[in-house]
């Protein structure tokens, strides 16, 4: 699987799981579906960007940095106005790091074709 595709799939799965953990917070349980969907989209974007960078640089460090940065920014946007900054941003950041590392470590680099 290519790195961007792996990042996309992994980011979406991890995002969905992360969103589902909101069930343990009774105050937000009524909005669980919306939380899962938005968390999935957040993870998907984080994963595909981390995978794209992983494909460009072949550097594990850069893939993790991009995963963390994108996860942090998107989590901040998602947390705005909710009051759950810590509960949303901290896991979003770690999942960004996982998506970045995994896409670089386990993904396949798409080879470029040279034309004479």
């Amino acid at each position: 699987m290519s790195k961007p595709l792996l990042g996309l799939v992994l980011g979406a799965i991890l995002g969905a799981i992360d969103g589902a953990t909101a069930w343990f917070t009774p105050a937000v349980r009524p909005m669980i579906l919306m939380i899962i969907i938005s968390s999935t989209i957040k993870g998907l974007i984080t994963g595909v960007l981390a995978g794209w960078i992983a494909n460009k640089t072949n550097s594990i460090a850069w893939a993790i940095v991009v995963g963390v940065a994108v996860g942090l920014v998107l989590s901040y946007i998602a947390a705005m106005g909710s009051g759950y900054y810590l509960q949303i941003m901290l896991p979003g950041t770690i999942l960004g790091a996982i998506a970045g590392f995994a896409s670089q470590r386990f993904g396949r680099t798409r080879s470029a074709t040279a034309h004479a």
Binding site: T25, I60, L86, Q87, L90, P91, I98, F101, R105
Partner: protein
């Protein structure tokens, strides 16, 4: 009465080969065994050091000459002395035997050397030759880190009649009993060499590989040296080996060892989730 030292000196002088011409000079004895004596000499024609082995038959030189492989020391020249003894010149390997090298090298480096030895021996087997005297003293590690299999003095063609020979502790029981040369006898010796380089508390998978290779019954061993080399490669790559059935705990430990970063990140996520749950539930 002659002293032992003088007797030894006289014996050395008597054994020292005398070559026609002045191509090989400054001969120094560097070793001897049942199959001949090895001298180091200067090759004045090509201006390099060579090792010269003097023995009774040409068989060994012809066998090595037919095995062109980076792990087998090449033969440069062959001839007969005035006294009828056969000699051949080969590359002089400046390095250590595996027996010496093993005292200071890391386990992965030693396993790499055993693998290179397996590859050279597998090459010989593919050409129908069985070494029959593999042991740490016959494996050289050169100054560039290369591995060379030495001393093919008792090597024979697969299946031919052969006298019992080898080194107790390294040679297969059936070989010491006089069985016809078979590649699995070398696999046994390679297993003993592997056991030699393993530390006292080696990983169980490596001990299992050494045990399988040096099984008393030839049918229980790896089918050839390449299969042994492949199993060692699997261990070096962090994969499961054929010789050992892992317990679930060993499987998990191997997975964790191969995936430390991802395991740490997932662990951090789970711990963080538990901490958040505990501290924010009210």
């Amino acid at each position: 009465m002659l002293s032992d030292r003088l007797l030894q000196h006289l014996q050395d002088v008597a054994e020292m080969p005398h070559f026609d011409g002045d191509r090989y000079v400054n001969l120094r004895r560097v070793g001897s065994g049942g199959m001949g004596t090895v001298f180091c000499a200067d090759d004045t024609l090509l201006n390099r050091k060579v090792a010269i082995k003097v023995q009774a038959a040409t068989e060994e030189a012809r066998i090595i000459a037919g095995l062109e492989h980076p792990g087998i020391v090449p033969v440069h020249d062959l001839g007969t002395l005035d006294d009828g003894r056969i000699w051949y010149a080969m590359k002089f390997v400046d390095g250590q035997t595996l027996a010496q090298f093993a005292q200071s090298a890391s386990l992965p480096r030693l396993l790499h050397i055993v693998r290179q030895t397996c590859d050279a021996v597998a090459f010989a087997h593919a050409r129908g030759v069985v070494h029959r005297d593999l042991k740490p003293q016959n494996i050289m590690v050169g100054s560039f880190g290369e591995t060379l299999v030495m001393d093919w003095g008792v090597a024979r063609t697969i299946g031919e009649d052969a006298e019992p020979s080898g080194t107790r502790g390294y040679s297969a029981p059936e070989q010491l009993a006089g069985a016809r040369p078979d590649p699995r006898a070398d696999v046994y010796a390679l297993g003993r060499v592997l056991a030699f380089v393993l530390p006292e508390h080696a990983p169980r998978a490596l001990e299992a590989i050494a045990s399988k290779a040096s099984a008393e019954n030839a049918a229980d061993r790896y089918s050839d040296a390449s299969a042994l080399s492949d199993d060692l490669a699997r261990w070096l790559d962090g994969l499961a080996v054929q010789a050992h059935r892992e317990t679930p705990i060993e499987l998990a430990a191997r997975w964790l060892a191969n995936n430390r970063t991802i395991a740490a990140l997932v662990g951090a996520y789970i711990v963080m989730r538990i901490v958040l749950f505990v501290f924010t539930r009210h």
